[in-house]
């Protein structure tokens, strides 16, 4: 059996370099990621962490691959504030950026390490919101959704 997986693709009118910066610059991620703080130095082997606006650590992980502006892999991604999701274990998230016409194709592939699909159900609700906001922010300067 293949592991539970969520794939989301969006096309954004921008450049791979600007999209890479949007994915890794904490002052920018905060704007489209519902005020969460994302901390990492984005080097292979470095820790990665999302902290919610209320101070709780939401998720942790480790940078497995970082190849700007093409490919970023966050491994050992684990929820830290919802016991049920934390118990579901690790996931791996791959972000791929490819030029496509005058836009960039961004593919997010989120794969659970275990067989529990609760985690994948949860991220399949969250990614479309976050990535719709990211696309709006890069194309119009404004986000689409203020509240999660």
């Amino acid at each position: 059996m293949s592991k539970p997986k969520f794939v989301y693709v969006t096309y954004i009118k921008t450049t791979p370099e600007k999209l890479w910066a949007a994915l890794t610059d904490p002052s920018f991620t905060k704007k489209y990621w519902f005020n969460a703080d994302i901390e990492s130095d984005w080097k292979k082997g470095s820790p990665w962490r999302i902290t919610l606006a209320d101070g709780r650590v939401a998720d942790t992980g480790v940078i497995l691959e970082s190849d700007p502006p093409r490919r970023l892999v966050i491994d050992k991604w684990q929820n830290q504030f919802m016991p049920e999701l934390k118990a579901a274990g690790y996931a791996r998230c791959t972000m791929e950026l490819e030029q496509a016409g005058n836009a960039v194709k961004l593919t997010i592939t989120h794969v659970a390490e275990g067989d529990d699909d609760k985690l994948i159900q949860a991220v399949s609700g969250g990614w479309p919101k976050i990535l719709s906001n990211l696309k709006s922010l890069l194309e119009t300067g404004e986000i689409a959704l203020i509240d999660k």
Binding site: Y11, A100, G101, A103, L145
Partner: protein
């Protein structure tokens, strides 16, 4: 009328758009609008359940034909979908495409669900899985910025071969 209970969802795509349900509805059902984001195709739809649904090439030839299953502006639009403009594809069973529009805060949540009545191979589902994100990303751009992106689109690798194999084998005819 098509019995939609026979169809199972296989591909779901969700996007949030800074717009209103009425404008998203118009973008989905107005030919001048669809030409901008739907790879140049014009939507031609009879606005009622049981009406005709078509996607037309710029020269007026039919690419997709189907039937309106549900017409509930500005919330839900469901139609059957048959690729009529390409010979082999016309032999595949119809699929079902549902557009659901819901307010979400100040924005609109648009969910597109592609459902099938048979065990479609992944290589054929890949057509919708690569096409919908491009089409719906472009719809969002047109609604939010007034301008489409210029995307190069084509069928995914192995897609045409998978359609030819399915048409030769016709697995949907087996109970």
């Amino acid at each position: 009328m098509t019995d939609i209970r026979e169809f199972k969802p296989k591909t779901i795509y969700v996007t949030y758009i800074a717009s209103t349900p009425d404008k998203v509805w118009q973008a989905l059902t107005d030919p001048a609008f669809s030409r901008q984001y739907f790879a140049g195709f014009a939507v031609d739809v009879e606005p009622k359940a049981g009406g005709k649904f078509r996607l037309l090439y710029p020269d007026g030839r039919v690419h997709i034909s189907g039937e309106v299953v549900e017409w509930s502006p500005p919330r839900r639009f469901v139609c059957t979908w048959l690729v009529e403009g390409m010979e082999e594809f016309a032999e595949l069973p119809v699929c079902l495409v549902a557009y659901d529009i819901e307010p979400s805060g100040d924005a609109v949540k648009l969910t597109v669900t592609e459902s099938h009545s048979w065990e479609v191979p992944d290589a054929i589902l890949a057509g919708g899985r690569s096409g919908w994100p491009a089409i719906l990303s472009n719809l969002k751009s047109v609604l939010e910025t007034g301008k489409p992106m210029l995307l190069q689109m084509g069928p995914p690798e192995g897609f045409m071969e998978a359609v030819q194999m399915a048409v030769a084998d016709k697995p949907w005819l087996r109970g």
